[in-house]
């Protein structure tokens, strides 16, 4: 009995240790390396940065890269632009995703599983292909412009490709399922009697929604927003393929610093800074989830 119990505890430790080991080796360690590189000077060599320890064995670190990020306006502008783009995509996803998630959660069980399948179906096709498909749609002589001209709505193609508009379309399209799924999960769990009860006590449908449905859906809203905002913030492919040449986002800057300029230390510090910006909403999520868990468990 006691032995079994001890074995159980051992197994518990092993099952916990495996993912943590994974995260340590493939996340924390590389992060440490990036952090180390961000504190180095670039050199034309292999690898293209100064070693952590100089010849005398002393530490050789510099915060020049971070100072450079603060002094060159390009970076601040890019970060702000990225936050703006990601936040807009997040709001668009929420505005589209909430009614969809609500509709799915309230549909009858057979329709519901079909609708859920449709939400995840796009994942079966390569992400890159789907972005290319949007290029085919948005292009000056793409499906949409051709159709509008054929109908006679316009006689000149509307410039949609290579604009912020195209990026918003791409981001919203790509990340919408990440908004819908957590929202669906919270809405589906919700007791419908609660809304009936609110109406019974004198709340109209609209008021009942804001009093009951919205606050109870909050954990899903927050989870969905973060799942959209965080990857959208560092998105590289969508702005690169759909955006204009002058739309400089942080993912692009990161790529260029690494692979075009080969300034690994500066690129690393851009990455570290991006991480710091993202940590704020994650901490917010954690605290809010803990609070909700306490309130509704």
């Amino acid at each position: 009995m006691a032995l079994k119990k001890r074995q159980g505890a051992l197994w518990q430790r092993i099952t916990i240790a495996v993912p943590y080991l994974w995260l340590f080796v493939f996340f924390l360690l590389p992060f440490g390396i990036i952090l180390k590189i961000s504190l180095a000077d670039p050199v034309i060599a292999q690898p293209p940065f100064t070693p952590f320890f100089d010849a005398d064995g002393g530490l050789s670190i510099t915060i020049d890269n971070f100072l450079f990020l603060l002094t060159d306006k390009l970076y601040a502008v890019t970060y702000i632009k990225s936050i703006f783009m990601a936040a807009t995509a997040m709001v668009l996803c929420l505005a589209l995703g909430f009614p969809m998630a609500y509709g799915i959660a309230r549909a009858n069980p057979t329709t519901r599983s079909l609708l859920l399948l449709l939400i995840v179906l796009p994942f079966w096709i390569s992400f890159l292909l789907r972005v290319y498909a949007w290029m085919g749609l948005l292009n000056n002589y793409g499906v949409i412009n051709n159709f509008l001209m054929w109908v006679g709505f316009i006689d000149q193609p509307i410039q949609m490709m290579y604009t912020d508009f195209a990026i918003f379309i791409g981001l919203t399209y790509t990340y919408l399922p990440f908004m819908i799924l957590p929202l669906y999960a919270t809405l589906e769990r919700m007791d419908l009697d609660l809304v009936d009860a609110a109406q019974d006590l004198g709340a109209s449908r609209t008021i009942a929604f804001w009093d009951i449905t919205w606050p109870l859906a909050r954990p899903g809203v927050i989870a969905g927003c973060l799942l959209v905002f965080i990857p959208a913030m560092g998105e590289y492919v969508i702005p690169y393929l759909l955006g204009g040449p002058d739309t400089l986002l942080i993912g692009r800057v990161l790529f260029d610093e690494f692979f075009v300029n080969r300034d690994w230390p500066l690129a690393s510090s851009v990455a570290i800074m991006l991480l710091l910006i993202l940590v704020v909403p994650i901490v917010f999520l954690q605290r809010s989830q803990a609070r909700d868990a306490e309130a509704t468990s």
Binding site: A198, D200, L201, G202, A203, S297
Partner: protein
């Protein structure tokens, strides 16, 4: 009708139809092809504690939801206190509901839950505070006002739900299985609390329940519902002692039924020849039956006597039998008797004498008997 014999104590609470407080006329509710509620008519008097009793899927909850305004009836009208509310949305009806799940808002504390209805009506804060205090007092939750619903026991949640539904002083309170989620002891206690509160506030209660015991204790009147229709509406005693159909007789309490054919119709009694009973069964009353008609004679277990020797009252129905099984419940003893025909019947008797000895044993040959007036004649 046979009823008239005993109805000296007037069981009916509802007086005149014209005084009906809730007036339901021809209400039907269809979901696609399925008819949940089928042309129901009902009058409920002011201050009544009315129960709608039926098994799951009989349409009782749908009827309640129609009354609350969550479902639009396919046909029919509902009036409360002379006002037609059929078209009103739930939030404009002078009706509140206590949900089976209680539906307490999990993100609000007890006080905010209870105050919710008044807040939506923009009652001023001072009055809200006063009325919430009164309600907390009434349901004995004064010390729990700051608690979140997840910190309450089942009984406390039930009382929060009740207080929240009562605070707007509705004309009618609808209760959907109000006690189903509580354990037995708490249920009995709460039953009486509910009755006291109803008495105190004088609000008309309409309770939906599947629990016949609950309906019997709580109600002034009961409607037994099956497949969307009311089979019988009446005070608990009437439903129990004078069921009009086999379903009602069987649904409420335990009953022994004997199938047979009428062989004599007299002025005061009829006689039914029943192979199941192995004899001719007399029943009191002129039941509007004809000789040769198939009927069912039903007798409640507590109306049957067991004796070791043949009872000498010639009027009584007397049948020979053998004790097949017996059970001692403390206050009652239950017997299963095998009649000579092979039919099993149930008999119960009060244990009036204090004794550890058994009055009959397994396989004892005994007589069962009952008065003709105890027999219910079911013609459906």
């Amino acid at each position: 009708m046979q009823k008239a014999d005993y109805d000296s104590e007037n069981l009916s609470i509802v007086t005149d139809k014209s005084e009906a407080f809730i007036r339901i006329r021809g209400i039907s509710k269809k979901f696609g092809d399925f008819t949940a509620v089928d042309d129901v008519n009902l009058d409920i008097g002011r201050g009544e504690l009315f129960s709608i009793l039926g098994g799951s899927g009989c349409g009782k909850s749908t009827l309640l939801r129609v009354m609350a305004g969550f479902e639009t009836p396919t046909a029919g009208t509902i009036e409360i206190d002379g006002v037609d509310i059929t078209e009103l949305p739930p939030y404009e009806r002078p009706v509140n509901m206590m949900f089976q799940s209680y539906a307490i808002f999990p993100h609000m504390n007890v006080e905010k839950n209870i105050a919710y209805g008044l807040r939506k009506d923009h009652v001023d804060n001072k009055e809200i505070a006063q009325r919430v205090d009164d309600m907390l007092e009434l349901v004995q939750l004064v010390d729990f006002r700051e608690r979140k619903p997840n910190q309450l026991s089942g009984g406390q949640r039930q009382r929060v739900a009740l207080a929240r539904a009562l605070i707007k002083r509705p004309k009618v309170l609808l209760l959907d299985e109000p006690l189903a989620a509580l354990d037995k002891k708490l249920r009995e206690q709460t039953q009486f609390e509910l009755m006291n509160i109803q008495d105190e506030l004088g609000i008309t209660f309409v309770v939906v329940t599947h629990d016949q015991e609950e309906a019997m204790t709580l109600s002034t009147r009961i409607a037994v519902m099956e497949e969307g229709r009311f089979l019988q509406v009446g005070p608990p005693k009437e439903i129990y002692e004078f069921p009009e159909t086999r379903f009602v007789a069987d649904f409420i309490g335990t009953i022994n039924m004997f199938e047979g054919k009428v062989n004599r119709v007299g002025d005061e009694t009829i006689s039914v020849e029943s192979a199941e009973a192995g004899t001719s069964l007399r029943a009191l009353g002129n039941h509007d039956v004809e000789v040769g008609q198939s009927v069912c004679i039903a007798v409640r277990p507590e109306k049957i006597f067991i004796t070791k020797h043949e009872p000498d009252n010639d009027d009584d129905v007397r049948i020979r039998g053998v004790v097949d099984d017996l059970g001692y419940l403390g206050n009652l003893s239950l017997y299963r008797i095998r009649l000579e025909s092979g039919k099993m019947i149930q008999v119960s008797s009060q244990n009036r004498r204090r004794s550890t000895k058994r009055f009959v044993e397994w396989e004892d040959k005994i007589w069962v008997s009952w008065r003709p007036r105890s027999a219910i004649v079911l013609t459906d």
